[in-house]
Point group: D2
């Protein structure tokens, strides 16, 4: 064991990370600092304080990071329209760099020489935590108990709890869930259990927690008017809202309308395929609405450049490279494009689907007098199209003329 004196642990207050507290104390004989954050997971964070104290922790950090999370992580990512593998809105991925940053800040404040987390050795989260930590503090040590210990089954873990007098709340709903779950303002995710069979329909009504089934959603659609400034939502239905409030509001309204359920098989950075179910009510609405406001405000080539860069950006976020120079480069390009992304989008929510039904903007590039099918009074000279086509066709004509066959 390397010589570690103090370690900052990302501590949820749940059973697994409580075991880690004890295991760190015992295995590394070091001081443990716990850090618990409210990033909108929908559970109280204060109870973590008492639990940590009970295990002898002296330095306990409990932070409300919801606004920072929404403003500095989720919102910039949505400016990019980031979707991983055509489907996934990166709900887990985007929370990790914030946690990594805060772990390192606390390590700096408390003089800790290591950080620790409860992510397994099979998943993406270990990568995201650790890449972030190393990028921000290159000399930090990382302890990943799931890669080190032998408590690899529920049984051995329970034995460890019994032996070390770690209280287990057997009535706790989450713990009874057969699924591995993760939640924050952007989403809640489910993995494991029956989901390990990709042919099995995720129809377990006890699994989904944030949304009603589309079948249970209201029979009447809900309309929202969403106001954007520089690519970010600043008001809904005319009411100004902070970033975190926007997300909480959209999660609520979206969830009531059955919006945001997703069931996919994705490719992890560590190399295997994994099946996950997600509820992302606010994110699903935000993605559609943002495309809507961009559709009238973005220049075509700026939009296309964004679309071509997007898969790369999404992959960076998914793989854990938020704190990297290449993400910063892409972000600057994207943010530049968003200066003009101002205006209102009207969306319709109905039984699981979101539709954009209207968009308007002081920065609109939609030019009615040119677009019209009616007489445009000379705004556009149709004869220009001939030259446009002729020169765009020139290379193709020369090739065909030289005998090339394109069929």
């Amino acid at each position: 064991m390397s010589d570690i004196k103090k370690v900052v642990l990302a501590y949820s207050g749940g059973l697994d990370t409580s075991v880690i507290v004890k295991w760190l104390q015992e295995t590394y004989n070091c001081e443990v600092v716990t850090f618990t954050a409210d990033i909108g997971q929908g559970e109280e964070v204060e109870p973590a304080r008492a639990k940590a104290k009970a295990m002898g922790i002296k330095e306990i950090y409990i932070d409300d990071l919801r606004e920072e999370f929404a403003r500095d992580f989720v919102f910039p990512m949505f400016r990019a329209n980031a979707i991983y593998e055509g489907e996934y809105l990166l709900g887990t991925s985007i929370a990790r760099p914030l946690i990594a940053k805060r772990l390192i800040e606390i390590a700096n404040e408390t003089g800790a020489d290591a950080i620790s987390h409860g992510a397994t050795g099979k998943g993406n989260d270990q990568v995201r935590f650790e890449l972030g930590a190393y990028a921000l503090k290159p000399g930090i040590q990382v302890i990943a108990p799931w890669r080190e210990w032998d408590l690899t089954s529920r049984e051995t873990l329970m034995d460890y709890c019994a032996k070390h007098e770690i209280p287990v709340d057997y009535a706790n709903a989450k713990k009874k869930s057969p699924y591995s779950m993760d939640a924050n303002l952007l989403h809640i995710s489910y993995e494991g259990g029956n989901l390990e069979d990709p042919w099995w329909e995720a129809e377990d009504p006890d699994m989904w927690r944030w949304t009603v089934a589309p079948e249970q959603a209201p029979d009447q659609p809900t309309y929202l008017e969403i106001t954007y400034e520089k690519g970010d939502i600043v008001a809904i239905n005319g009411e100004a809202m902070s970033p975190a409030t926007v997300m909480e509001y959209l999660n609520k309204v979206g969830g009531e309308n059955g919006i945001g359920r997703l069931d996919i098989v994705e490719n992890r950075y560590v190399g295997m395929k994994s099946r996950g179910c997600y509820e992302t009510p606010a994110g699903t609405i935000m993605m559609k609405a943002h495309r809507g406001i961009e559709s009238i405000t973005l220049d075509r080539e700026a939009a296309h450049l964004k679309d071509e860069l997007m898969p790369r950006y999404a992959k960076l976020v998914y793989n854990g490279y938020w704190w990297s120079p290449e993400r910063k480069m892409l972000q600057l390009a994207i943010d530049e494009s968003q200066k003009v992304v101002n205006g209102d989008v009207r969306v319709k929510l109905y039984k699981g689907s979101v539709s954009v039904v209207g968009r308007r903007s002081p920065d609109s590039l939609f030019d009615e007098k040119i677009a019209t099918f009616e007489d445009d009074a000379g705004a556009y000279d149709q004869k220009d199209a001939e030259g446009f086509i002729k020169l765009n066709a020139l290379r193709l004509r020369i090739a065909a003329d030289k005998g090339r066959d394109i069929l």
Copy 2:
């Protein structure tokens, strides 16, 4: 006027192209060959024969191109998951290269020296028709009446009809529509009229023709089991179907479930923004299902490469470069990836939304024994993750160590 002897016209049998027949005869004093194709637009094509004959046309081509359209154009495009500007499934775009190809084939058969079409000088279709034509027969001449004549208002057009005794069927439902429409197996589109105000909700119940409103769709979901071979659908619910039959079937079932309505503002190749509404029931289901079967069969990096190439591919199709060497290059790369895209996807249709609820394949790369959250019996060594992370972090650590600030 250049010296044109015979021109092949893409003739719908409708009023506009009937006027063009007359106008070509009169203006160019040339012979006109009409070509009318069934590409699944849902209207009879045979009536075009009588109309053409009545105008003195001697060479009349009426073709059923539905299978060719689905098999050689729509299906290859869906292997690419092509979406233009994040939303548009390219329903109009993909039909044009087939029409261009057939126009040229007929020009070759009939010895025509020109082709003609009814697309306006403001839209994308003129570009798609003409790029295709020039690529396939570089010496062909193109007559685009809408760029040449002065019949630019409905009124002047009607006067022309009266003067030249072109029969106008005032009772024809489509002609009464305030919207400019286009249909084929993949979609029906609407432009113009009230849609020219992007804030106006496209709630006109008379506009939408292929789908019921989600609100009117059945209260019970519909499930489909879709079978893929090499990235193409070959059977539904166990019944083998030809490509065109697949599309007709999915259009029907999708339409009944309110699937495939889309309302967007898009960027035309000729430079302006345009608002369009689309109904693409089959395409919407196919897109989701294809992503589903790819999710378990495609290698991660093959999938990511496809995702990064996709916007470019979609743009090529949108802009009219189907018959180009660069589209062929991309298609070969995409098709190579699809050899393993075999298996079944189960989808759920419900009031406007499509969800993938299951996927299975003899070519699945989903490896349960590695993916499992339970004990994997050594299939994956969690300790490998440490080295993986350490080396991926190395460049970031060195930079941080040298004092670079990434925050």
Copy 3:
């Protein structure tokens, strides 16, 4: 003819643009403002004043734009390592947006309603001038005489001169050149004449003007030490220099060593292939040196992102989209990467070739203690490589295990 009152002409003082002055006055019956810029073409610009005056021009602009050109156009472009089609350093392309900008500024100052230029209808320059002009002043009118008039041969042009008493300096060396030439601080180009046969070697000793033939260059190499700040050269051999001075100096030294000759066939934006010869002494050195300083200061992924964006950036510049939102987006990303591109590069010039022979930087990421082949005292743990490889291989192994054949 549209009703134009005043036109700003990009006026070189040479014969062609002198004819244009007369032709504009005569054809459009409008006032002409001449604009002549020194962008390092190596010819006096003041003589243009007298010539313009002689033709009755009242508003004459003669500007020294060398520093602006080098600082705001050439240098930003070199931060991107921009090369078009693997070879061309964009010497002509990059000068056009500056000329377009200045034409529009002068149009605004003088109240002109049009601009004019001497570029032909076959080339890229018309596109670059006009895209720039339209982007900066959308209502501007553009007169491109070469696309309008019938003075399409040297003979008709001479007749026009004779008829309108435009003095022709038959002794002028440049005019006698069989090549069409263009020059600025970045390069001098040659097109036409014998070059229209791509198999013909450009061995005409009278053609090349800025460089000696490598065979005539000194037998001893020349070494330079080039200092960079934020990706730009700020000093050579320890002597601080302004951007234009850097280029003039490197053109001189490079030219003496036979550096920067290029002979290529390129693809024009208007659709045809064109053969051109170029002399780019400073640019050739700058490209190599910039790669050299980036090699020790840029993060790997930042560098690779730049490399992947580069062809697109180069194409934008080549095609004339300098003044576009997409170029700005890319520039911001590129410039962000250059903050750390500081330090010195040592280059060797010898008979036509440039080699980087040394590079050092306070921002170097080259870490001797990790890179060394000798014992690194634990700076790098070779065992990490095993996990790195294992997880990177995982997807490939799973695929092979499932029977996929990659050979």
Copy 4:
């Protein structure tokens, strides 16, 4: 130690891999199969047989893989114009997948359960060997002695030799070199020693082995006429040659003219920067010449697509993903483009530089009648350019008209 019965070793016959033979026998108590390949490194491979026999090896493979290497690896890569980080021609990278493939073939033939190689834990080669091996035989075991043993200094290695009676040829020139070297038909590389200081000029005359210094090259240029079929060289100066012969010939002529020296700092896949010097005479000529023949035969957009894909392709090869589905996808796209890359290129070699001075092809798209500066007799209508520019400018004009500032 895992239970390994037989291991196939990539055996050079040199000291290091001789030590590995012994170490494998001793450490794993397993049978060793040696595999020695001639891939053009310029050293006899037969002596490896006697050395292997002397160490008790029973299964000895010695293969001449030069033609396979040139034809199936180097040539396909050059069709892509692959350059890593703007400079490196991937000389080492491209040899590894062939070695990996042959190791696995031999493992299959001999029933070996493991392979082994002499690459260190710091470099790229271990990754390339092992990714290839795992992709081709997922259950293979890999032994990388340099990551396992403690013979990490020259001294401990010599002690091991002494102890195990491994003969050390102290007079061997290569071993005395202070540089780590690697050679094959495509290049010879140097790392380590003084090169670990990136500011130090690689002027050591004893280091460079394949090329004369440009200063020592002939005073007269050498011209070559190189003939391409489908993107590959098939003849030089009219003489048909096999792929390996092409490379041997060009290495000879190139080396005599001082062609192909390169001195760079590159970014390794494992995360650190590394300084390397390379001699790549044939490759340097091939790269230039291939660009030359493509310049007249490739369609513009096919060429640009290749250029945009190239950095990604080069990275794949550099990182060791030759045997991957994504490389195959890209290769198919690239190879499709090469069907028309036929014809002759004339190059001039002179004291370290290669210039293309002529190109001609039956598949040339260079159209003299359109390209000409003289009267083109209507081949190109200059007036088309106006419409082309107007529509390309439309989006920029609309934006400017709406008040957007692009400066």
